[in-house]
């Protein structure tokens, strides 16, 4: 499986994104980072075909995204939004069923999933009554169980306590190990460094850097994006990034 974005451009009012090119293959985690308003979510929405690019195109295994049916696209790309709200009080089970809309025999599969993740006691709860962490877990389980080739995640770590955060990061690694592709927006540079194979950094709609995590998450690049100073060091085999207020010169 190979997702390729070629010179994607999008503009609305005074905001212009792109051109952005990158690729993600099976068994790879691609991180998207950058400050607020840099176009990360816009890029994700273009990949989900919720917005249509004004230039460029995206292909999955050579087939243009625009030529796919809604169902075909959902079988290729699953989506984990930042939040989900059920105004008419669906239960956790109903939300999981909704996430598997395009699968056949979804009811049979549902119990298997619920057992695998040990959330039997949440099954009949009102989705809105869950805590932020439980909601995120249910949404993640919904996205994973769509059996898509790739999953697009919009800040999967927000509102989570440390335990849940570790659980979510572990799940993302498991997805990679099972040969699926993950494209994930993360604000936390250390998390980008910890789980991503490659990273795309955006600022004001422009690509500042794209490449392997070790090449992109270096002080020289980060200082072009954020108005802070950075220091990186290797701590027990993984990279740690520290940010400091920039000294006035």
């Amino acid at each position: 499986m190979l997702i390729e974005a070629s010179s994607i451009e999008y503009s609305i009012n005074r905001f212009k994104l792109g051109p952005v090119s990158f690729s993600a293959k099976g068994g790879e985690i691609v991180g998207i980072g950058g400050p607020n308003g840099s176009g990360k979510s816009t890029l994700l929405r273009i990949m989900l075909r919720l917005l249509h690019p004004t230039g460029g195109y995206i292909t999955i295994d050579g087939k243009n995204l625009e030529e796919m049916t809604q169902r075909e696209l959902s079988r290729r790309l699953a989506y984990l939004p930042q939040t989900l709200f059920s105004p008419l009080n669906l239960s956790v089970q109903d939300v999981l069923l909704a996430s598997q809309y395009s699968l056949d025999k979804r009811s049979n599969k549902l119990d298997t999933i619920i057992n695998r993740y040990g959330i039997e006691e949440l099954k009949h709860r009102d989705f809105n009554s869950l805590s932020g962490g439980e909601k995120r877990l249910v949404m993640l389980i919904g996205a994973i169980s769509q059996d898509s080739d790739a999953i697009l995640m919009d800040e999967p770590d927000t509102f989570l306590d440390v335990d849940k955060e570790i659980q979510v990061m572990e799940e993302i690694r498991n997805l990679r190990d099972s040969g699926r592709s993950v494209i994930v927006i993360l604000h936390d540079l250390n998390k980008l460094a910890a789980i991503c194979d490659s990273v795309l950094m955006l600022k004001s709609g422009k690509v500042i850097a794209y490449g392997s995590t070790d090449d992109v998450l270096v002080p020289e690049v980060l200082e072009r994006i954020y108005s802070a100073s950075f220091r990186t060091e290797q701590v027990s085999g993984s990279m740690k990034i520290d940010a400091f207020p920039r000294k006035k010169s």
Partner: protein, 359 residues
């Protein structure tokens, strides 16, 4: 019963859904049959039952022998039966329409009338009554109410289109704006109407009633309504998904714009059809889906069929009250649905829901 329901977790509600469906359907049948015992002319329950049984094809003649008075049979067959079945169909359609519209608009305080159905139907009715149009024969009022209702919904949909999509908030706001415009038009026509009688006739129509419904009106409306409700029930999966947000629904593979067109068309056809023969019966479309959700949880797989049953039951009971409250007069049923429905709904929300809608 409410106390017991409140104490059930959603899980227990699920496991009891089957029993609750059976009970509510049974109560509906009992309510509908016993509603035929009520009326200005007293006809004993035994006679009513005999008249019912005499209508069974092939076997009916075994029961017709004992019926005392022929005109009693006419009262039951040509008046009470179409009125009661009318109440069943109208209640069911308004309930299902409410559940669907609330899902599409992702909003618990919407109902089918808000997309222009009520104002459009009123415009059609006023054109027929105040101006005295009879171009479409005896059923000019009904046909005009149906056509104008569909026309106004169509206009609101068209005005809300933004590059091939209908953002649902636009549609809601456009619906409110156009409805105000059409209502002003209706008021203007009434104000200019040469005879006051027509004003009171329109007023009576606007309050809604089922006791003028004839078999000839009911049969086409019932066929349209049952077909629409059946097709809508097939879309319950999609309607569950769309209430989590249109973007999310698209991401899991739902063709959102097609779903909106299909659902809005079916709701418009069925609700306009029932409104054309009953006038505007308020509150059913708003309150019934909520009662269904309180009993069965939020999924439309259960909310749609349950809203059909409970909507029908609600309207049957309102019709009974409308005939009993100041006999021999029959109060327009729309007045009763508001008078009984609102306090009942507030009671339910306070006593039963707890933190259910607290967010």
């Amino acid at each position: 019963m409410f106390r017991t329901l409140r104490n059930l977790s959603t899980g227990e509600k699920y496991s009891r859904s089957g029993t609750l469906f059976f009970i509510s359907a049974l109560v509906l049948i009992i309510a509908a049959v016993s509603s035929a015992f009520l009326g200005v002319v007293y006809i004993s329950p035994i006679e009513v039952t005999k008249i019912f049984l005499s209508q069974i094809p092939y076997l009916g003649h075994y029961f017709s022998a004992g019926i005392d008075v022929a005109h009693q049979s006419e009262i039951i067959v040509y008046l009470r039966e179409p009125h009661i079945l009318g109440a069943v169909i109208i209640g069911a359609v308004l309930g299902v329409g409410g559940a669907v519209i609330q899902s599409i608009f992702k909003n618990p305080i919407t109902e089918p009338y808000m997309i222009g159905i009520s104002s459009g139907a009123a415009l059609g009715a006023v054109l027929s009554i105040a101006i005295g149009l009879t171009i479409l024969g005896v059923y000019t009022l009904q046909l005009l109410a149906f056509l104008f209702s569909a026309l106004i919904v169509g206009l609101i949909y068209f005005f809300s289109l933004r590059s091939g999509r209908v953002p649902i908030v636009y549609m809601l706001l456009t619906g409110i704006a156009v409805s105000v415009f059409v209502s002003s038009l209706v008021a203007f026509m009434l104000y200019n109407s040469p005879n006051l009688a027509s004003t009171s006739e329109v007023f009576f129509w606007l309050m809604g009633s089922v006791d003028t419904i004839t078999w000839a009106e009911l049969i086409p409306v019932a066929l349209l309504s049952i077909a629409s409700m059946f097709i809508l029930s097939l879309y319950s999966k999609e309607l569950d998904t769309i209430q989590l947000g249109e973007d999310y629904a698209r991401s899991v593979g739902v063709r959102v714009e097609s779903l909106k067109i299909i659902a809005l068309t079916l709701v418009t056809i069925s609700v306009s059809a029932v409104v054309s023969i009953s006038g505007l019966i308020g509150f059913v479309g708003l309150v019934v889906p909520h009662i269904s959700r309180l009993i069965h949880g939020g999924s439309n797989r259960k909310v749609i069929p349950s809203s059909a049953i409970l909507g029908a039951l609600f309207l049957i009971l309102a019709y009974d009250v409308s005939r009993l409250i100041i006999p021999p007069k029959v109060v327009p049923i729309g007045i009763i649905t508001g008078m009984i429905g609102v306090p009942f709904f507030i009671y339910l929300l306070r006593k039963l829901a707890g933190g259910y809608y607290a967010d």
